[in-house]
């Protein structure tokens, strides 16, 4: 018995698991990774080699130009030219000329904005960052205050600081001109008061017609008109700031002014157009479709040409528009059409039940849109709006064709300065410009992806 017992004891039974052994050498480590991802087959290996070759002809020359061969300091064109061209670099040298960019850096940002007034531009930039950064961080508090700041306080402050204020407002239809002494500045205010009365009258008539209580509506109209009057009054004050005409603005300042005003103007206009395109009223719908398709069917260049040469013809004699303002109008109308299509996409994505639910609760059209539909639709299309904004930001470069000096235009105009004119100047400047535009656009597109991911969690199961 015991023999048998001992015999069975001797039978080998594993009582613990063997620890996992590492994968075979050829499947693991960097070598295994290479084999799996790059050289899994002949065709794959060939593709890898082609890709590496393409990278090889593009990347090293760029690094060589921008960093290795580049000149970092100096104060004249001599440091950036070869001996043959009258400089100090060996013949055949080809590298970036960074001292030129350093020398022109301020002009690339401010254009010909007077040097002693540039602090005003800096304050505007700071105010913008102060407002926009918390707006972009979802967790930051006081969103509605923030929005009011960005929509009202910032634009007024920026306009005041950048132009210097004490703008002159003239009478619009000429009634005021006959009632007030010339040059007193009163003519505008007389007409403004008349306009307020007319608007109040229309509001009252509408309230009587629909049988709604008139008090609330009139109070709202009065508040808006008074607020507008306050803004106009502040802008016409002389705060001791020197007046800087827009014709000498330039550089990144102009780029940002056009991009930000463009988006600010096109967003509400786009909402109205998108709602109009989905309206039940056939004429409203037709007008919106024609408007949207017209602007989307023509290139921005022709729009800018139109705003620069035709807009002055459209206005009554003697009334002239600022060149920058004309470009802004063109850009805003153009991007409003694109914005309208983005927002239409959002409106179409809202389930019908939401519309019907709002109707069932008894909300009027504008209440339904303001409280139920638009908040959902706009959140849905934030990535689309950001993409439109990126497009708009890139398109601001086109204003250089109608003679405005935006960032790229300023760079282009710096080529005429003989003190830095070298064969590498254009290449350096364009490399620099490409980096700046790329940083702006790429970070915006990253932000759009970030919001997209953040909003997607709401639909996760």
């Amino acid at each position: 018995m015991s023999d048998i017992q001992s015999e069975t004891d001797l039978v080998y039974v594993r009582d613990e698991m063997l620890s996992q052994s590492p994968p075979p050498h050829r499947e693991s480590g960097p070598l295994g990774w290479l084999r799996k991802n790059l050289f899994s087959s002949w065709s794959n290996a060939l593709l890898t080699l082609i890709a590496l070759y393409v990278i090889w002809i593009v990347v090293p020359p760029l690094i060589d130009f921008a960093l290795v061969q580049a000149v970092w300091s100096g104060d004249s064109r001599d440091v950036c030219t070869t001996i043959n061209q009258g400089g100090i670099q060996p013949n055949g040298w080809f590298g970036a000329c960074w001292p030129y960019v350093k020398d022109y850096f301020a002009q690339f940002i401010y254009g010909r904005y007077p040097v002693e007034e540039r602090w005003r531009v800096n304050i505007v930039f700071a105010l913008f960052v102060l407002g926009v950064v918390p707006l972009l961080i979802p967790a930051a508090p006081f969103k509605s205050m923030n929005l009011i700041y960005m929509a009202i306080v910032f634009p007024v402050a920026a306009l005041l600081l950048l132009t210097g204020g004490h703008m002159e407002f003239e009478s619009m239809i000429g009634i005021g001109r006959e009632l007030a002494p010339l040059g007193s500045g009163l003519d505008f205010w007389i007409e403004y008061a008349l306009l307020t009365l007319v608007v109040l009258g229309i509001g009252y008539a509408w309230a009587r017609g629909t049988g709604a209580p008139a008090g609330g509506l009139l109070k709202l109209v009065l508040t808006v008109m008074l607020a507008l009057a306050a803004v106009i009054f502040v802008l016409s004050l002389d705060l001791g700031l020197e007046f800087v005409p827009t014709s000498i603005w330039g550089g990144l300042l102009v780029t940002l002014v056009i991009a930000i005003t463009g988006i600010a103007a096109s967003l509400p206009l786009g909402v109205v157009l998108a709602l109009g395109r989905r309206s039940d009223m056939p004429i409203v719908r037709f007008v919106c479709v024609v408007f949207i398709e017209f602007w989307r069917g023509v290139p921005l260049i022709t729009v800018l040409f139109m705003s620069s040469v035709m807009l002055p013809l459209f206005l009554p004699e003697g009334v002239s528009f600022d060149k920058l303002l004309r470009a802004l109008i063109g850009v805003a109308l153009f991007s409003a059409a694109y914005m309208a299509e983005v927002i239409r996409g959002g409106l179409q994505a809202i389930p019908k039940g939401q519309y019907e639910g709002a109707d069932a609760v008894g909300l009027a059209y504008w209440q339904k849109m303001r409280l139920i539909i638009l908040p959902q639709a706009l959140t849905l299309v934030i990535p689309g709006i950001v993409n439109t904004f990126i497009g708009l930001f890139k398109d601001t470069t086109l204003v250089l064709i109608i003679g405005l000096f935006d960032f790229l235009g300023q760079i282009q105009s710096s080529f005429t300065d003989p003190s830095w004119s070298t064969p590498v100047q254009a290449t350096t400047a364009y490399f620099f410009a490409a980096c700046v535009y790329w940083i702006f656009c790429f970070s915006m597109s990253r932000y759009s992806i970030f919001t997209e991911n953040r909003l997607r969690t709401g639909h996760a199961r």
Binding site: N44, A51, L52, T210, M281, G297, T397, A426
Partner: protein, 403 residues
């Protein structure tokens, strides 16, 4: 009961108004809109007329018959300085269409290659495609045009020492001197053979399809079509060359000279710069569209077709791509339109496109802003609408047919 009691009394107290009827409100609103638009248009026309009168400029399209009096370096049709503005218009339009057409083809090819590379399992290829897309689409197109034209093409050697591209001609700072096709006497025969080959392919395809429906046998259409389209003209080429004792089609190569290459077909650097920038830029957008389209086809479709026994090549061609195309085509259309519209940036480097010569030079010469810009805008609008119509028609023909 209670509601019925309350309602009439409320109506009575506040006075029923037509303004409370939604339909009446709609009509009032639309009438107001029409009035506003008409009066706005009238105001603009009135102002414009007054301004034009004050400046002593008339309005009318008669000026288009006047002689232009300026040179254009690249023209597809016959053009002299004495030609009329109408001819300037057509020169510009054809140049716009030329750069757009070639640009669309190039952008589609590059875009599809990059888009598919982005999905490749090969790490280097996928990452390179990703970097290409992110760099190219985040830099303004105008800047890219400048980079190609002022930074890249300016690095080319001077006129006398051109780079020899072998079979592709010569390249220097003044442009690309491509081999110029010279047509011989028998060329009509070759062209006819080519057309016959294409027609025969279509007939063959219909026959092969019917046969496959009936018998299930697959005809090797691709190989036969290739033989028909390439082989037939090739045979015609030799036959014609033999019969007329000179080749029906030959290439005239440019020869380097002291004052630049002679002969060949000169392609201007403005054209190359614009074309490169347009196609590389648009390709980055097309690549993302292609990627999204392929990802939109559920993996189950591929698995199902494998389980039916289809090979990977057939699966891709017959199952995945047709479904991906449905997602790809609508946004692809708008990219084609964008490319066409963006070709107007040519004005920045003086490529003689429509905007550059017609809304630019000709407008400045005559001062007739209204007429010239209206015509230009109408032209682009027409191109846009025609392209959309065509692509919508094509889109409908490939769209999913539901009950």
């Amino acid at each position: 009961m209670a509601v019925q009691d309350v309602l009439p009394s409320r109506k009575g107290s506040s006075g029923f108004s037509a303004l409370n009827d939604q339909r009446v409100r709609g009509v009032i609103f639309q009438v107001l809109l029409i009035v506003a638009i008409v009066s706005f248009a009238w105001w603009i026309i009135h102002n414009t007329a007054a301004n034009l009168r004050a400046q002593g400029i008339g309005f009318g399209f008669g000026i288009l018959r006047d002689s232009a009096g300026f040179q254009i370096n690249q023209t597809l049709i016959d053009y002299q300085e004495t030609s009329s503005y109408v001819r300037v218009y057509f020169v510009g339009l054809l140049n716009t269409l030329l750069v757009s057409f070639i640009g669309v083809i190039l952008a589609t090819i590059i875009g599809f290659i990059v888009g598919i590379s982005r999905l490749s399992k090969n790490w280097v290829v996928a990452k390179a495609a990703y970097v290409y897309i992110e760099v190219l689409r985040n830099i303004p197109l105008l800047l890219q045009i400048f980079i190609w034209y002022f930074a890249v093409l300016r690095l080319l050697p001077a006129k006398r020492d051109a780079i020899d591209l072998g079979p592709f001609g010569l390249l220097n700072i003044a442009g690309w001197y491509a081999p110029n096709p010279v047509l011989g006497r028998g060329f009509a025969l070759v062209a006819a053979a080519f057309i016959i080959g294409i027609v025969a392919t279509f007939v063959l395809r219909a026959w092969a399809r019917r046969r496959q429906m009936a018998t299930g046998q697959i005809f090797p259409l691709f190989r036969v079509a290739l033989a028909l389209i390439i082989g037939l003209p090739l045979v015609a080429y030799f036959v014609a060359g033999f019969a007329f004792a000179n080749p029906p089609f030959s290439l005239e190569y440019p020869t380097p000279g002291n004052f630049g290459p002679r002969g060949g077909l000169r392609v201007f650097p403005e054209f190359i710069g614009l074309l490169m920038a347009l196609s590389f830029y648009t390709a980055s957008f097309i690549a993302e569209i292609v990627r999204a389209g392929i990802l939109a086809v559920p993996n189950g479709q591929t698995e199902a077709s494998y389980s039916l026994g289809l090979r990977p090549g057939h699966t891709l061609r017959l199952v995945v791509i047709p479904q991906a195309m449905r997602v790809i085509i609508p946004p692809l259309t708008s990219q084609y339109l964008n490319l066409t519209k963006n070709s107007s940036l040519a004005v920045a480097i003086a490529y003689p496109d429509l905007v550059s010569v017609f809304a630019g030079t000709a407008l400045n010469q005559t001062g007739r802003a209204v007429e010239f810009i209206l015509i230009t805008m109408a032209t682009y609008l027409t191109i846009s609408l025609v392209t959309s119509l065509f692509m919508n028609w094509y889109n409908r023909s490939v769209a999913l047919v539901e009950r």
